[in-house]
Amino acid sequence: MTKKPEISKSKVLQISKSQIELLEKLCNAVAVSGDEQEVRQIVLEEVKSVADEVKVDALGNVLVTRFGRGEKRPRVMLAAHMDEIGFMLVKDDGGGLFEFVAIGGIDERQMVAKSVLVGQEHLPGVIGAKPIHLTKKEERKNTLKIDQMRIDMGLDIGSKVKIGDRASFATRFEMIGPSIRAKALDDRLGVVNLIELIKHAPDNIDLLAAFTVQEEVGLRGARVAAYAFDPDMAFALDSTPARDLPVWESDDDNVNYNTRLDQGPAIYLMDSATIADRRLVDLLVKAAAAEGIPYQFRQPNRGGTDAGAIHKSRAGIPSISVSVPQRYIHTAAGLVRHDDWAHTLQLMHVALSRITSDTLKR
């Protein structure tokens, strides 16, 4: 698993300053499920000069087609979700305090005392919690439930926010040496990679790119996107938990690591939603071997990606997922390695260029 990358620089895509800046812009944008407008605008702006067709569908997915050249081109769908986990205001308690619910899977223990951005104007707020001065020892052992928390917007926010507005964690994007810390790396990493793949689409395929909505609430956007594209095969580009902190493990073995940082893109075999098509596993593994790109298998485990919705569409679509491993996913601040991101982009680019009409031969 600890393969050293020996990448032929001339052939594979690299990540430069402009891609990092684009990822920063994407991560700092707010697009909680069902309200993906901000990210959608960035995507539309980025792809308009390179796409052959661009469409925003009824649910808000951005569907981009880039045609290849030559005969018998496989129709290959790539999906990356634009939405992120977050919150929704559900009740105005007065005095700038709002009850809220979670959108997508967030651990209640990881909500308290976090700064948030509320509504389309990114107004500042905080998920307030009683300070240590006011709590008793016994009380501090209890986990706060979401209905005991409030988003505090200060006074007089007036008509600027309303019930139904979304809120996200307020964490700003930072490069920290070889790492990136940000909110919403799940799945802005997929989005930025998909934009790059459209810009550098190989000619042997028709690339059908879906920037999907509402993944975090049940793979909803991808379902209709796959129906519309009706592709020959599909790849979901996502992010998956890394469980590689020694301090987290009660046993030395850590046999349930899921993925680890610095081991490269995580190729899926099975999760709760999809059994990866083995012909596509082979394609990815051979592509990685051919170019010396490191990779890891994501442990067969729970979880799900857009592939779960895509592969069951119409008369069936062979599908697989590839994820960037991420620590602290679905919290206020995730952490990934720059090189895992770069290797994921490189692996996908090489794999796409190796697809032929025989790829799905049984």
């Binding site: 075999l269 099975m270 442990q299 067969p300 008369a315």
Partner: protein, 331 residues
């Protein structure tokens, strides 16, 4: 029929890894189908007959996948940890023997347990006789099924994958027996049922039937202190009324019951509290399809020793042939 059952139940084919069983079924049906294809997810779809006046396009679905295991980790000493493919009960794993798709065999061991405690799946491991990672012939992502020989106990038949190979046998036998039908019959040998009825979703979309019928096993209530359930082995195939995944179309239930009565075939009505079949996927495809399910009562489902009754199987074939040979009027 017995040799066909033995042949099909002993082939490994966990969900998503149905190549071997698909090829075996294809060999059995190739002379009895007018057209055979394999769809994008691997469903084997065989057409028999062409729609005539008064005929319907009918989808029959028997899933060829079975529950199995997938390796998640191989440790320094060559022991493999795993996750279930489909509903695996740790209780029936320990001491079991498994056969990997690459031919490797193994046995399932367990960590030291607190006395009286049942194991969790995470406490079990597969021992393939390796002593370290390097000489272990399997790795992360490798897949195995349980390995048990077919067993005949009087009228009872026992195997690791009666669920749902017995339905594949019934479909194949019916396909061979039907000589004249006004219908366009699509015999679907579906994949990935055990992980959430996935193959039937895409097969049903592709077939676009007028009428659907799943064929699957169901539980029985005839063993000591079992769940309360009417169905019992040997009392005939069961006509499903409902399970937790779908409510059979009452018109389809009536048609099945009336046909059984007229042909003098014993049958039972089935109400299953928990469980689902390909019927759900067919019913909900496209703009909706009237759908039912023909069930075979089965003991010890999802264990390596699933038991059915030979007479129920034979009667299921008879009922299926009777159902599909005549014009159908759902009323």
């Amino acid at each position: 029929m017995k040799s066909l059952i033995k042949k099909l139940v002993e082939i490994p084919g966990p969900s998503g890894f149905e190549e071997q069983i698909r090829a075996a079924v294809q060999r059995e049906i190739k002379d009895h189908a007018d057209e055979i294809k394999v769809d994008a997810l691997g469903n084997l779809i065989a057409r028999k007959g062409k729609k005539k006046d008064g005929g319907l396009r009918i989808m029959l679905s028997a899933h060829i996948d079975e529950i199995g295991l997938m390796v998640t980790h191989v440790d320094d000493n060559g022991f493999a940890r795993f996750i279930g493919i489909g509903g695996i009960n740790p209780l029936t794993c320990y001491g079991g023997r498994v056969l990997f798709m690459n031919g490797t065999r193994g046995v399932i061991g367990v960590e030291k347990l607190e006395s009286g405690k049942l194991p969790k799946l995470a406490q079990l491991f597969i021992d393939v006789g390796a002593s370290n990672q390097d000489n272990c012939p399997i790795g992360v992502g490798d897949v195995c099924g349980f390995e048990r020989p077919f067993l005949e106990l009087g009228d009872r038949l026992v195997a690791k994958s009666m669920d749902d190979r017995i339905a594949a046998v019934i479909a194949i036998e019916a396909m061979r027996a039907i000589t004249d039908t006004p219908h366009e019959l699509y015999f679907v040998f579906s994949v990935q049922e055990e992980v959430g009825i996935r193959g039937a979703i895409t097969a049903a979309y592709g077939v676009d039937p007028d009428l659907g019928l799943a064929i699957d096993v169901t539980r029985s209530g005839d063993t000591p202190k079992s769940v309360k359930m009417e169905t019992a082995l040997g009392k005939g195939p069961a006509v499903k009324v409902r399970d937790s995944s779908f409510i059979a179309d009452p018109r389809v239930v009536n048609w099945m019951v009336e046909t059984a009565k007229q042909a003098g075939i014993p049958y039972q009505l089935e109400v299953l509290e928990a469980g689902g079949t390909d019927g759900r996927a067919i019913q909900l495809t496209r703009a909706g399809v009237p759908t039912g399910c023909l069930s075979i009562p089965c003991r010890y489902i999802h264990s390596p020793s699933e038991m059915v009754d030979k007479n129920d199987v034979q009667n299921a074939v008879k009922l299926l042939v009777a159902l599909l040979s005549q014009p159908i009027k759902l009323g």
